[in-house]
Point group: C2
């Protein structure tokens, strides 16, 4: 189905070349017609890798492959295809990954275990890997350092716009760049889709330090978002540091020298995560939820996600209904410590319920105006402690049903 | 909004009088116009009570009231109003419960703490209890033993049909009757709605034995169903035994003499629970999910509920798409022990995926025909152990968005 552009779409930023990274795409025709669906990224020798993977127990073969590749901490290439997720494909799925890695290794003259892979699309169909290996030699000849937009587009499935973000960070006196691309419009979508995110930097960062920064950043960004509560079999965030920049040596444990880099990495991750939520299936509104006063940050996060995953809260936002009763319900069902008579709820900065009851005579006018906008802010104060969290989601609309309830074609 | 009758609706059974129970209804106009919205049930002196309540932490005042009343184990009356849930209403909410209980106690000449209460409807609006206490004297004068259908209708909110079930059980040689009424069309619905269920029997069953049978029955019925994963602030299942039948004495611990009664109680609960799912907001199809081969029954139940709560599985069923890949995803995200390569999935009795991969050449024709029906059966075999569970849900359709995304009127 042809999906209209999300009303929450934001334009792609300018994406300058990043030293040590060259990209190329091709159209294999595996599922889509007349559009590139295969991405090859060449990484400079010495590139360090980090990765975070789905917690779904029924992982796809490319997740298993890349998780194993990460043991070495080094990367020379990344291959991504869109349209077939290579999930629940048994021995044939693992074999497809091996064949693709061997083909890339031969083209780039590197070990097969330094070839990372990701696939997104339909579950349960064997990946016709010969179509991929047949397309790789030509891509390898045409790799370019300015191929970022084409790369961001090649990995799309039900996405309605390409997603990328970039920042400059300082390590010592040296400026390094962090650029990421992502795809996804549901944690998993109609047979085909998944959250994939790839980050690249020219900094020289040992794999353990990169892994620690990535995990922390993902916890504060992607793990604070939800579209539909369904965790994909193929989610993957990979980071690659090509070590082309010259800056003070970064120890394996990271530390103070990486402070700005880690902050900017988190910015890039959050920027990308919000672009994914903005392209949530059927999304008409971006919802930010701030939880404060919880007994811990962890408790606040769980309460925030209970609100963000509540179909009744999400449909209320879709209907522009400032229905704080449903927020109270979602807080109460989270399974976290809550004292009803200390609980307060605000929408658009207006506290409508406080201390276990409605705020008599609160002004509904600004709340109604706020609900009509594209970005809705919900705040909950539990009045118990200092725990805080901020999470994001989108509303639940007819568009979600249209996209996911249509017959498989 | 006026909702069309659920296509999954089933007719009300014949509901004969039950000794020790008299019912009456009235229209208070609190929210609805021209329909009864208040139910009073008089219970014979000596009636034993049992109850199971929502786990939501932001409970409504009537939940708090009835939970406290249950400490005594005795009941003389039940009052239920529809249209206002009396939730998040602070001290005024508790005061409303007290006033209503005192009024009923005066009319029926019983202690106020033997008056059970439930409310369902909008959250956050103070219950105008004077309208209820004003209507009670007239109802009390007109109590009838054949008022079951009127009672089942008076407690409805967004329900599209009234719900009741009845069975005969044997205790020793004596036949006793168990009759229940319920309401609910989402675990919680647009501002107004909640799962409420009230059971009545003429048997003489001590409160502790009744409580044990009720809790077990609820775990095997209502706790195996979900409409939208949102747990209400007001869910309540109450059981009353009027002790009018003459049969062998039932000990407080229950035991073998209660075996048939407990089985029939479970039947009534399951019958009512499925009627609620059949009236799930926007439901077009009833979905039964059988999980086997899990490491324990508890694990099987969690996996079943993960499938039943997955919006992607529910929209696929709505679209009549036998999308087993989404079932695999939902199994994998449940957080329970799963071995991908032992997992099998069937729809309508046809195994489409087995041992970690698609069943090559399975016959899709009967599956497509099955998906077009009103009742869809999903089976999952984990191949790990002997744990089993059966759970029920409904599909997720445009109707759900219409009902819950409409402006509050």
């Amino acid at each position: 189905m042809d999906l209209p552009l999300s009303p929450l779409a934001v334009p792609l930023p300018a994406l300058p070349p990043l030293s040590g990274v060259r990209l190329g795409v091709a159209a294999t025709g595996i599922r889509y017609r007349n559009r590139p669906d295969l991405l090859l990224v060449e990484l400079a020798p010495g590139t360090q890798a980090a990765g975070v993977f789905t917690r779904n127990r029924c992982t796809g073969a490319p997740v298993d492959w890349s998780r194993a590749a990460l043991q070495g901490g080094r990367a020379r290439a990344l291959v991504v295809n869109a349209g077939n997720a290579n999930v629940f494909t048994g021995a044939a799925g693992a074999e497809a990954c091996r064949e693709i890695a061997v083909a890339v290794a031969a083209l780039l003259d590197c070990p097969a275990q330094e070839v990372f892979q990701a696939s997104t699309g339909v579950i349960g169909e064997v990946l016709p890997h010969a179509r991929i290996t047949a397309a790789l030699p030509q891509i390898a000849k045409e790799l370019r350092s300015d191929g970022w937009e084409a790369a961001a587009r090649a990995i799309m499935t039900t996405d309605t716009f390409p997603k990328a973000a970039t920042r400059i960070a300082r390590i010592g006196e040296t400026e390094v760049r962090i650029t990421g691309i992502a795809k996804g419009s549901g944690m998993i979508a109609p047979n085909m889709a998944t959250l994939l995110c790839f980050l690249f930097t020219d900094a020289a960062i040992p794999a353990p330090a990169l892994q620690a920064a990535l995990r922390r950043g993902v916890n504060r960004s992607f793990n604070c978002t939800t579209v539909d509560s369904d965790t994909s079999t193929s989610d993957m965030v990979l980071a690659f540091a090509t070590a082309q920049a010259e800056h003070p040596r970064v120890p394996e444990a990271g530390g103070a020298v990486l402070a700005d880099f880690a902050a900017k990495l988190e910015e890039v991750l959050l920027d990308l995560a919000l672009r994914v939520v903005r392209d949530g299936e059927g999304a008409q509104k971006l919802i930010r939820i701030d939880v404060s006063g919880a007994i811990s940050n962890r408790s606040a996060h769980r309460i925030g996600m209970a609100i963000a995953n509540s179909p009744l809260v999400k449909t209320a936002v879709a209907g522009e209904d400032a229905n704080w009763g449903r927020i109270v319900m979602a807080v109460g069902k989270a399974g976290e410590p809550v004292e009803r008579d200390r609980l307060s709820v605000a929408i658009g900065g207006v506290w409508m319920a406080r201390g276990g009851g409605v705020v008599e005579g609160y002004d509904e006018t600004p709340v109604i105006a706020h609900m009509r906008g594209r970005e809705v802010e919900i705040a909950v104060d539990l009045g118990l402690g200092r725990g805080r969290a901020r999470v994001w989601t989108c509303d639940l609309t007819h568009g979600y049903i249209d996209i996911n309830g249509s017959y498989r074609s």
